[in-house]
Symmetry: C2
Subunit: 241 residues, 2 copies
DNA sequence: CAGTGGTCTAGACCACCTT
DNA sequence: AGGTGGTCTAGACCACTGC
């Protein structure tokens, strides 16, 4: 492990242990450099990590201070060591299963072509799954993936987690995600599969997900009954640039 | 302007101008250091900025590559140079106005105490506004702010933007935001003010917003009719740590 | 193996906050 | 003025990739 990460880790433990108190400052960089027997640049890289994580913030000419919501930040970080497929979001304490409603190969429509940056001739998987959390039908998921980017999907994979397949078997790493969240009226399929009344709103998350290198590999909709889930985000500050 | 930011800026322009093509690599750090007459550390800080912004990514032992969705990233960055009050999100091309429905000082309820980290005796502003975009009623906003953190709010301020007041007049800088997005059934007030039927879903954004130093200053709900807006996010990768 | 990015050093100067 | 963080240097060694 790099020295600066090691130091960042130790400092964050001190913050968690209240050795450095919220609102108060850390020792100055020169002293930290002496204590950790390293150079100031390395201390600064460590502090950059803490600042990025939102545990601390630095004021030029004054010092580096522990944020007053440092605890919230740490909490959230644990919960969102994820990447959003349902499996990641709920996998720890709950059992996720899937029923495959549709699964076939076809050509992309215009929205899909645009989002996935492919043309009409590039075949895509079309996947419709009903997802269960602890045997309770939870969400309808419509997924489109180009066959050349994510090859050889099987029903077996769909019954578990596509994301685990992408990461572990295809050994690809997932990058950014672009999401649009909206409230919708339930359509016939929602009412049938999600067991909802005509007056029950639907929370829809539409997302395009990209690989590390920026290539889009998934265009999907997830629809769930309004009382079955919320979407949570922590938006950090980025005082950069 | 710091040299590394200047270099980052120039490199990002080259990416926008397709001098460096998507999927291809930048010149190596040593050459860039020579070109910009600087040290490798400084080049690396510049590249860190690009990587952070999602324009590029680096692979140890191989090179630094332009992401294939670099254009999407730049686009989004422009649109979200914000901070989420409605004013920021829509202010450019649209006229935002507000009708004040309620505005008084009171004591916080339990949820507010917890979110704002205050006790029952700390007075808070309670603000209910109906917000218009281009004279079209768009959203109901329920805001709670501690009077000691954000003092001297007036009706005049509420008719415009609280966020501009916080930034420009109080000279405070806004930090992270924690949001929960959900779909809800319309209540009586929604139906009255947002002109919606009982079957029209509501998109609700509940947020706690923090200052730079981590002190929470706003706990609010924004409710809008399902067909009046969506919530959009771009979630970057953070391969750190 | 050569070439790349990742880390680290020991010091320097600057910009800014505090008093 | 003194102390703090922000930047920068010129070089070094290491870890990894890809031929």
């Amino acid at each position: 492990m790099a020295k600066y990460l090691e130091i960042a880790h130790q400092l964050s433990e001190r913050i968690n242990n209240k050795e450095y108190l919220a609102g108060q400052s850390l020792p100055d960089q020169k002293n930290l450099a002496t204590e950790f027997k390293t150079s100031r640049m390395t201390i600064q890289k460590a502090i950059d990590v803490l600042n990025f994580e939102g545990l601390t913030y630095s004021v030029q000419g004054s010092g580096t201070y522990v944020k007053k919501n440092a605890d919230l930040i740490s909490d959230f970080k644990v919960r969102s060591d994820q990447y959003v497929g349902l499996t990641q979001l709920f996998g720890k304490n709950h059992k996720i299963t899937s029923h495959i409603i549709e699964f076939y190969i076809s050509n992309p429509n215009e929205a899909e072509q645009q989002a996935l940056k492919i043309n009409r001739n590039q075949a895509v998987y079309k996947i419709t799954r009903l997802r269960y959390i602890d045997n309770d039908s939870h969400a309808l998921e419509y997924t489109t993936m180009p066959t050349n980017v994510i090859p050889d999907i099987t029903e077996e994979i769909l019954k578990n987690s596509i994301y685990n397949y992408i990461r572990n078997d295809l050994n690809l790493s997932i990058g950014a995600a672009y999401r649009t969240i909206s409230a919708e009226k339930p359509n016939d399929l929602d009412q049938k599969h999600l067991n909802c009344k005509i007056s029950d709103p639907i929370l829809q998350i539409q997302q395009t997900v990209y690989l590390d290198d920026g290539k889009p590999f998934e265009y999907s909709y997830t629809r769930q009954r309004f009382d079955k889930g919320k979407f949570v985000i922590l938006e950090p500050t980025h005082p950069n640039v």
